[in-house]
Symmetry: C2
Subunit: 355 residues, 2 copies
């Protein structure tokens, strides 16, 4: 059975880490006898926008929807195209049109990586952020009034649906149930955001009734970010709205040392549409073109893709290879951000060879 993978590298370091992601996937495919077929697309980046006035061709949905997964780099180059145009024109379209309503991000302190948090060791930080990925604060409803005058106002709506909230909660509770600690934390702000957030809380209470074996707590987002820093060991599965999940899934990886290596999966759990796998980091225009970007976020995202396609053993082998290379700490191999003097390619090769 051939798995067809669409590759969209995007901008900046996206184009540099992508080859390393593919290198490792090919190594894993060989070792575990998986048939992966990669097709590269040249759209979904800011140069494409400058040429065509849009981020994607009109028939992108048709072109991509038959693939088994999208392997995605990083998009955005604010000096060429404003972020809200490049992102709403690409990544956020995929998430929405392919109904990838789960954004899943592991936050795990890896061997050889120093946490910025004092005294935290491997094993102390190991949780998932489950983020709602299609609605909530990321709406495109709203507008401007009294434009250009002193009375100018802008309005943007947050929209939550029962369908949208319940399905992400269900996914998060299900995930918590598979974990040894069986613990779920809900991110809210119902003391300040007085309509949508109390609704979120209500649905959590309702959903929790079906999971009596899962221990549940909730925190307002302000104190929750504080607790990520003060007590990262409290968390097992953390579920949040689109915005809160976005924040927590950058802060969580930062607490594990660097967002440069964190992976993410944008999942359509029913498999009706392809899911999308991408590193948490952005396109990093500041270091683009130097060949020094850390490819681990891309490679680890590839592991999540393998797991999603049903190859748990292969996925574990990739993560183990990452862990081994990191814990060896060979500075001629590691990139600068993790204390080495190597390149994107040296680190990518070392991981691929290990498989």
């Amino acid at each position: 059975m051939t798995h067809r993978i669409a590759v969209i590298a995007g901008d900046g370091i996206g184009t540099e880490v992508m080859p390393e992601g593919i290198r490792t996937l090919e190594a894993a495919a060989k070792r575990f006898n998986i048939d992966l077929d990669f097709t590269t697309f040249e759209f979904g980046n800011c140069d494409y926008y400058l040429e065509h006035g849009k981020m994607l061709p009109d028939d992108w949905f048709k072109q991509l929807k038959g693939f088994d997964a999208l392997f995605y780099g990083a998009v955005g180059w604010p000096d060429k195209v404003p972020d809200h145009i490049s992102l709403w024109g690409s990544l956020l379209q995929f998430r929405r049109q392919f109904d990838q309503y789960i954004n899943l991000r592991p936050c795990k302190l890896m061997p050889g990586i120093k946490s910025p948090l004092a005294g935290r060791q491997v094993g102390d930080i190991d949780f998932y952020v489950v983020r709602e990925n299609t609605e909530g604060e990321y709406s495109s409803i709203g507008g401007k009034m009294f434009e250009g005058t002193e009375r100018e106002i802008v309005i943007q709506e947050t929209v939550m649906s029962r369908t949208g909230v319940d399905r992400v909660l269900k996914y998060a509770f299900d995930l918590a149930q598979t974990r040894p600690r069986k613990k779920l934390t809900s991110a809210t702000k119902s003391n300040g955001i007085s309509i949508t957030m109390p609704y979120w809380d209500e649905r959590v209470v309702e959903m929790a009734k079906q999971y009596p074996d899962v221990a549940m707590d909730k925190f307002h987002i302000d104190i929750l970010t504080a607790n990520f820093v003060l007590h990262p060991d409290w968390f097992d599965v953390v579920v949040g709205s689109n915005l809160f999940g976005d924040i927590l899934s950058d802060l969580g990886p930062a607490c594990t040392g660097t967002i440069g290596i964190a992976p993410s999966a944008n999942i359509n759990p029913e498999g009706q549409f392809p899911s999308l796998f991408e590193p948490v980091h952005g396109s990093a225009p500041d270091i683009a073109g130097q060949g020094i970007a850390n490819p681990i976020g891309q490679i680890w995202s590839g592991a999540m893709m393998l797991e999603h396609l049903g190859y748990k053993e292969a996925a574990d082998a990739v993560v183990t290879a990452i862990e081994e290379v990191l814990s060896e700490g060979d500075s001629s191999v590691l990139t600068r951000d993790v204390g080495g003097q190597g390149t994107t390619a040296s680190l990518g090769k070392a991981i691929a060879e290990r498989i």
Copy 2:
């Protein structure tokens, strides 16, 4: 000249830390010859709500508006009254009706307090969060549709006005100008929240033109929270919307060791209405009634109040007293959260005596 201070202690540990806040203010008033006149109000707490069906009497505005400042503890007791009712019925009313459009929160690593961030020393973390405090994500506009059915949706609007955005930016730029580093960071999320946040960015660019001597940068809120943990030394003055400021002003103090000691000021800069001074921490039902809450947040908020009333020297003396008591580290004086075995009163007294 007599300064009339309205005292509202609120719920839980609010009622325990308030007497210590007043004790220190009275000591400072005596030493610096300031005439403070405290009037205590019994409303604005959850027991009042249970008795009267509302958090405040109908004429609260008339009762309070003539005061020179409000000295405020902490409100909320979710087992008695849902947070969105108790908070929208009290604190958020004050902020809005008294047009306290600035929420100012120092994030400063104090002597004797261990930062959860590895290797951070006194002097490494010292910045202000300036939060918009009256509009933005904390709107009460919105509602529910298809209630009780599978199609249920809730909507809540974020509203930003040019007036509201510009005045908080102006305050933040002015503050940055008074600081040695003259640096301002704007919190945004214009890559995902596509209407209000690009507007925020636009106004920042516009305002920055009037402050050529202030160095300006901006980060999306997700990576900004990561940078609070990875590079807290980057920040000097950080300005954000109501929600983003809320998050950053819990996360910032957490990076300085504990939100238990952080102060805040809700300021109406024009002085048309009283400003409100309160600790960042909440009412903490879990430790209420034991006399072990740390009163420093309340006392430090009192110092901010003194400064606001024009007594900079007295304010500095209070902060110095806090620093001295913390750096001495007498465990019979300090409360548990900062490594001692003392009580709210022992710590409050030690600080007051120092003045």
